[in-house]
Amino acid sequence: MSRHDAIVIGAGHNGLTNAAYLAKAGLDVVVLEKNDYIGGAAVSRELHPGWIYSNCSYVCSMMRQAIHRDLNLSTHGLLLVPYLGTINFGDGDGRLFAYHNPDAAHLELKRHSPHDADAMHRFQADLTRYSQLIRKTLMRTPPEPTSFRPKDIREFLFLAKQFWSLGEKEIYEYIRFFTLSAADFLEDYFENDLIKAAMASPGIIGTALGVYSPGSAYILLHHVMGDVDGNIGAWGLARGGMGAISTALAGAVKAHGGKIRTNAGVRKVLVESRKAVGVLLENGDELRAGIVVSNLDAKRTFTRIMDKADLPEGIFEKACNFKIRGSSGKVNVALSGLPRFSGVPNNRYINRGGQTFSGSLETMERAYDCWKRGRWSDNPFIESIIPSAWDPTVAPPGCHWMSNFVQYCPSALTNGPWTPEKRERFGQTVIDKIERYSPGFKDLIVHMEVRTPHEIEDEIGLTEGNIFQGELTIDQLFFNRPFPGYGQYRMPVRSFYMCGSSTHPGGGVSSACGANAAREILADLRRPNTVPQDDFHDE
C-alpha cells in the first residue's frame, strides 16, 4: 500500500492537467491509467508501421492558451499548427470551399448565393458575440444557484455584468439561442442548402442530436468558440498527433514532481465514513490518498468504480440517467498517396485542408433518423481531415493518413450487438461514400482502423463512446454539469472530485475541466492557487 496526497484516475488530458496543477502546488500526486499508454482520447498511435493515427480526437482549438503557456507545454514539445481550407461537399456536384483569405471566401459564398455571402458577416458577428461570452466562463467555476455563499453571489454578479453588456436585444437572442436547433438558427441567416449544411455540421459532431433537434445550436457554438492564437473559430493540429498534447501535459506533471502509472486500472474507489480515502487497483494493489479525483465520465465514475452503498441517495440513479449517448464512429485510414476529389481544383492549400461531407440538412437529418432506429446510415455525415498533409511526422513521405469522423453511429444496434463483421461493414459504408467523391480512393488504402462506440468505450473508457463525456445539452451544462447541485467539481463523497469533460465546461481538448477542478481542490486544502486566469479579458 502506498500513500499520496492525491490520486487522479485516468491519464486523459484533463486528468493530466489536474495532476499538473496539484503537483505544481506541491502535492504528491499520482495519475493512474488503465491502458499501457497515456492520453485517453488525445493519443497518437502507430497502428500501422510508419503511420501515426490520432485515432480518437483529431483536431484542437479549445486548448486553453493560458494553460498551454502556464505549463510551458511548448517546452514540453507541443506545437499547435492551425490548418486552413475546408471543402464542403454537397449531395451532388456542389462544392463549397472555405478559403482562408476573407475576400476569396466572400466571392466563393457569392458564387452560391449573393444573399448568403452578405449574411455571413452578420452570422459571424453574432457567433463571435456568443462565443466571447461563453469563453469567459470556460476557466471559471460555475456558481451554485442556491447556495447564497459570497463566492457564488460574486460569480453570479460577474455573469450578470457580462450578460448586461450585450444589450437588451442580444440578451433575449442569447437566451433564445440556447433552445434553438442548428437548422432553425441558420434559417435566420441563410438560404442556400449547401451553405446551411456546411455551417450546421459543427452542430451535430459528437452529439446524439440532429440538425433539427433543439439544443444543437449550442453544440455548433461549442465547436466554433475555440481559437488558435486568438483566431476564434480556427482549428489546429498538434504536431505529432493529438498524443503530443498528452505527452506535453505528462511532461508538465513530471516537471512538477507528479507521477504517472500506466497499466493501473482502478477497480474501486475506497470510501470510509463518507470520505474517499484511496483506490483499489485491478491488480489488487491499494493506494491511499487524502484526495481522489476521477477523470472518468460521470456514469462510469458512479456506476463502475464506486460502490452504490457509498453514495448518498439518488446519486447512483442520477448517474444511470446521465445522458451520455454514443453517436459517433471513426474510420482512420492509412493511404499510399494524397486523395484527389472530383470537382476540386488542384489547389495545394484547399487540397490539404479538411473535407466535410455534409450534403444537405436533409441528408444529415436522414442519417440521424437511422441512429434513432439503431442503425448506421448508408449516407453518413463525415468530417475528414488529412493531418499528414500538414504534419510531416505522422506518415511516411508521400503517404498520408485520413481521419474520418462519422455521424451517426449507434452504440447499440437494433439487430443485436456489434460484431467485427458489422464494424467492417460500417467502415465500408464510410469508404464507399468517400469513393463516390474521390474515385480511386479505395486503391490508396494501406491500412484501416474502424471504431464504433463499442471500441471507443472498450479502449478508452468513454461510456457509449460519447466524445464529450456526456451530452452538451442545457440540462447538463454549466452548474447542471454533471448533475444539478454538483457543478463545482466536488462530488457527493468528501475528498472526492471529478475533473473530466463530464464537468464544466464540457467536451473538447480544452484542459479547462482539469484546471478548474484543481483550483477548487486547492481551495479546499487551503493551498495557494496554481491555476492561471484565462486571458479572455483582452478580447
Binding site: Q65, R69, S74, P82, H100, V228, P392, P397, H537
Partner: protein, 401 residues
C-alpha cells in the same frame, strides 16, 4: 534582368527580379509585393502565419538573393576583415561561417552579417545593406585584397524548418545531415557546384543554398519536387520577422539603426547595448572601434536589449517600458513585439536602461477593438534565453532526416 521592360517608360523605376522570380510569382497567390535592396520581394505569398508555421512545422524557402554578398580575396583578406569586424576572423575555420558585427570608430554598429571562410585567403561577407564604400575604406592600406560585389551574380535561397534536412537529402545531397551548424559544404550539381551552409535567420534547423543564378530555376524545381511531400512553401518577410523575433535575432531598422545612416547623436547602438558583447574580442589585434568599445565595456552600456515575456496576449508594439504602473518614469522602449504562436507567449525585444533591468518592468500597451482604443499596463518578465531554441537546430545529425 529588366529586358522585358525595354519599351517601358517606367523601366528605370521598376524593381529588379530575383532569379527565382518566375517560380515565386506563380506561388504569390495574393499578389503581395514589396521590395528589398532594389529587388521585388514578397512580404508573404499566401498567408504570413501559414508560412511561419511551415518554418516551425515543415519546410519553407526564403529568397535571399537581395541580400548583399561580397567576395573578399587575397593574401591580406583575413587581416583586412579582422581589422574591420569585432570578432576574431582568424578563428573562423575553413568552410565555416561566423556571425559578426562591424562598428565605426566610435563603436557604433554599422551592420551585422556572416563571414564565410571559403579558402585560406577567400571570404564571403553577407549583410542586409550595401556596404561597398565601408569595405573599400576598410581595405585602405592593405595591398593584397580585392573586394567584389557578388550580390547579383550569386543567388541564395534559404531552406528552413524541421524537414529541411530531409528535403535536401531527398534532393540528392547525401551527407548534408553531417553538416554541423555554421558548416559549409559543396555538392556537384548539373556540371556546376552548389554551396550549402547550415545557417539561417529563423532559430530553427535550416540551410542556405548558394548558387549561380543560371541554376536558380533548376534548383528551385528540384527542391520543390523533393519538398512537395513535406509541404514546402515560400515564405516572405513577415514570417521571417516572426521567426527571427522568437529566436531573438536583431533586425536593422528595428533593434538597431545603422550607424552610417544615423542623423542624431547616439540614436545608433553599440554591440554591448544589443547584447552582442560576446562578439567583441579584445584579445585579437586592433580593430575598428576598439578603443570606444573598450570604454563602453568598462562603463557598461546605457541601454540593454532585453527579451521580455509580457502578461496578457496583446503585443506591446511600440510600447514604452516603465518602472511602475503609474507609467510616469519611462526606462525604455519596445523594438519588436508579437504574440508567439510556437512559444505561446507575448514576446518582445526592448531597449531598457541597464540600471533598471533588475527592477519592475511594465509595458504600456495600446490596442484596438472595433475602432475603439484600449490601454493595458502589463507586467514584463525578463527572459535570459531566446524564446525559441529547439534542440534540433543544434543537433547533428538533425532528427527526422
Amino acid at each position: 534582368m529588366s529586358d522585358e521592360h525595354t519599351d517601358d517608360a517606367y523601366a528605370g523605376e521598376r524593381l529588379k527580379l530575383s532569379p527565382f522570380h518566375s517560380r515565386q510569382s506563380a506561388l504569390n497567390i495574393r499578389d503581395a509585393w514589396a521590395s528589398w535592396n532594389g529587388y521585388k520581394f514578397a512580404p508573404y505569398y499566401y498567408d504570413p502565419e501559414y508560412e511561419y508555421f511551415c518554418v516551425r512545422n515543415s519546410c519553407g524557402t526564403y529568397d535571399i538573393c537581395p541580400m548583399q554578398k561580397y567576395e573578399i580575396k587575397g593574401r591580406d583578406a583575413e587581416l583586412m576583415l579582422n581589422r574591420m569586424v569585432t570578432r576574431d576572423v582568424r578563428k573562423i575555420g575553413l568552410n565555416r561561417v561566423g556571425y559578426s558585427v562591424w562598428c565605426t570608430d566610435e563603436g557604433r554598429m554599422i551592420d551585422d552579417g556572416t563571414i564565410f571562410r571559403l579558402a585560406h585567403d577567400r571570404f564571403m561577407l553577407t549583410c542586409g545593406s550595401p556596404c561597398v564604400a565601408w569595405l573599400e575604406q576598410s581595405a585602405f592600406g592593405f595591398d593584397a585584397v580585392t573586394i567584389t560585389d557578388i550580390s547579383d551574380t550569386l543567388a541564395g535561397l534559404s531552406v528552413q524548418g524541421p524537414a529541411s534536412c530531409a528535403v535536401l537529402k531527398r534532393m540528392g545531397f547525401d551527407g548534408i545531415e553531417s553538416a554541423k551548424p555554421f558548416d559549409v559544404r559543396r555538392f556537384p550539381f548539373h556540371d556546376d557546384e552548389l554551396m550549402i551552409s547550415r545557417t539561417g535567420f529563423t532559430g530553427d534547423l535550416g540551410y542556405e543554398l548558394w548558387l549561380h543564378p543560371e541554376l536558380a530555376l533548376q534548383v528551385w524545381d528540384e527542391l520543390y519536387a523533393a519538398g512537395e511531400d513535406y509541404g514546402i512553401q515560400p515564405y516572405g518577410e513577415t514570417a521571417t520577422n516572426m521567426a527571427r523575433l522568437e529566436a531573438a535575432f536583431i533586425m536593422p531598422a528595428m533593434e538597431f539603426n545603422e550607424a552610417l545612416r544615423t542623423v542624431r547623436f547616439e540614436h545608433d547602438q553599440t554591440p554591448f547595448e544589443l547584447n552582442l558583447g560576446w562578439l567583441v574580442d579584445f584579445a585579437k589585434p586592433h580593430f575598428n572601434g576598439r578603443t570606444a568599445l573598450w570604454r563602453e565595456k568598462q562603463r557598461g552600456p546605457r541601454y540593454t536589449l532585453t527579451k521580455l515575456d509580457i502578461e496578457g496576449n496583446k503585443p506591446a508594439v511600440g510600447s514604452y517600458i516603465y518602472r511602475s504602473k503609474r507609467c510616469v518614469d519611462e526606462i525604455g522602449y519596445v523594438t519588436s513585439a508579437m504574440w508567439s504562436p510556437a512559444v505561446k507567449a507575448n514576446i518582445a525585444l526592448a531597449m531598457i536602461k541597464t540600471e533598471h533591468l533588475d527592477g519592475d518592468l511594465l509595458a504600456e500597451i495600446y490596442y484596438e477593438k472595433e475602432l475603439r482604443h484600449y490601454r493595458r499596463v502589463a507586467r514584463c518578465k525578463h527572459i535570459k534565453k531566446p524564446f525559441w531554441m529547439p534542440s534540433r537546430a543544434r543537433a547533428t545529425p538533425p532528427p527526422d532526416c
